[in-house]
Amino acid sequence: MAGPMGGTLRERDMIVDVVDLQYAWRNGTGPVIDIPSLRIDAGERVLLWGPSGSGKSTLLGLLGGVVPPQQGRLRLLGQDLARMRGPQRDRFRADHIGVIFQLFNLVPYLSVVENVTLPCRFSSHRRANALRQSSSIEREAIRWLTALELSDREILDRPVVELSVGQQQRVAAARALIGAPAMVLADEPTSALDADLKEAFLGLLLNECAREGTTLLFVSHDRSFLPRFDRGVDFAALNRACPGPSAEPVPRRRIA
């Protein structure tokens, strides 16, 4: 599925291609990640759920190129992350991946717009993508903020630390989406929001990803969102190293 901003990378079918991926922290307690297979296609919006402490964040670290893979195949957009050196992975992440955290998403000393344009400072690729949409990256940031219902001048001028958590998460979403990255990794971004805001935030994020054709990997311990995603993955079933009760691999469900 090629989005309106689709580049050549977007047209590749497979965004994530994991085979026999293993990862162990150095303290020698055995692998925390042992995934025989994981595949995410372009434009898919995937919910990954599982208990906390099961290694979800480690997987995100691996997919984001922050944690170097140790064993197995880890290909993103057809490129082998295991073969990349640290700076190359950093570059790759800057160009192709947007990240939304659970909390504390914003750099406190930057304005809302500066926070949103941050990826364009680190990636000329995303900067160029942003400039294809708007005349400046600041305008593009405001375009995204407007799409995420944060267009009030009053909000834009306020210090980011004074924004509500819900507003902060939407600014974070705008930052993850600006410059058309191929994939957005969201690490429990709704866990600090109350029920109404959760719904609203999720709706906005899913809509924008669908509109842009951005692949979304949404991690949560809450599987109640499942109906709204294209597909869900039970991390406990996916990860053989997961100490959870369901060690038996479960066939992945397609919902969409």
Binding site: S57, T58, L60, G61, G64, V66, V67, G86, P87, D90, R91, R93, A94, D95, V99, F101, Q102, L103, F104, N105, L106, V107, P108, Y109, L110, E114, L118, P119, R121, F122, S123, R175, D187
Partner: protein, 429 residues
Amino acid sequence: MLGLALKSLRNRRFTAGLTVLSIALSVALLMGVERLRHESQRSFASTISGTDLIVGARSGPVHLLLSSVFRIGSPTNAISWDSYEAIAALSATAWAVPISLGDTHRGFPVAGTTAAYFEHYRYARERGLTLDEGRVFESAYEAVIGSEVARTLDYRSGRSMVLSHGAGNVSFQRHEEAPFRVTAVLRATGTPVDRTVFVSLEGFDAMHAGMRQGPADYDPLKGGRVRRPGAQHAEHDGRDEHKDVAQAITAILVGLKSRAAALQVQRFVNEYAAEPLTAILPGATLLELWSVTRVAERALLTIAAFVVAVGLIGMLTTLLTNLEERRREMAILRAVGAGPLDVMALVAGEAVFLTCAGALLGVALLYGFLLLGAPALQAHFGLFVEIAWPSGRELGVLGLVLALGCLVGLVPGYRIYRFTLADGMTVRL
């Protein structure tokens, strides 16, 4: 990255400002100590040049140098006019200028000498004394004053002044009956000459004449005034007449025809049979003086260096304290594409920036202090500080501080590097 670093610093401007200020003050102190050390040596060394030997009564060389040239400390004992003549008559001697010291005028030292002083005295390599206005004294009751005396007391040539006896700021014997007339003001030299009132040897003796009558003349109950029989002291013209009157001088500045003869003449003086004399080579004695002051200088420099160390450790503490808070910030930057080395550079670069800013501000403070404080240093310590560019040694000190600042920055830099490797993108603090 640079923009980010600056915005981050601006966000913490209060602590950053304090850090910069503490580094600046410590740098200013360190450089100030070094500057004063250098300036005092330069100022001392440039005060006397062209004089090959200084002769005085038998005493320590440093004492003789300080009292005769710098007017610091009490004058050495008197020496006889005959000794002066003997030294002046030596074939190796090009010129010899007698000086009498021990009196002050409103806190400024008074020196009795001859007109030859203005001809032969040299400072700052080859510079001679210049009269700003007027002429050299020609009679006993005339005086030539240094620029600072003129400025402080607002004296001009033609004005009369009363010279009193005894060193010190307050003198309770005033010879108002025998006023001296200022005939000339010397151009500023940046040496103790500026602070000196010069009179002829005759004039100097005239001041003394009353005192030589003994303490009986001094009656504190009558207002502390002395009624001197010698108040109507006759004017002396010429040395011949003076020879009978002036019994004693304090020191002799000697210029030689050839420097090579200095040691020979020095030996002649030191072994002079008629009275115990000391001859010193000003340069060599200055070195001796430095060796005395070196201990204190080193102590001061060491203390200043420790203050700099304290400033840098303060910076390290601030940076490390901020580090925990900044882990989140760094995780965000990592997520948008910053590498661990970028993050390290951001934190270490901050230390470099703070040190540079501190060093620059410190230098600015130093020059500010120098500009504001130079007149006070001159007035109170007779130290003439030249506002010059930083010397090589000062730049070296500055470079060392910067290098240490960078080194200090590596500590939080390395820690955040380790943090970012361990944290990845998921910081839950």
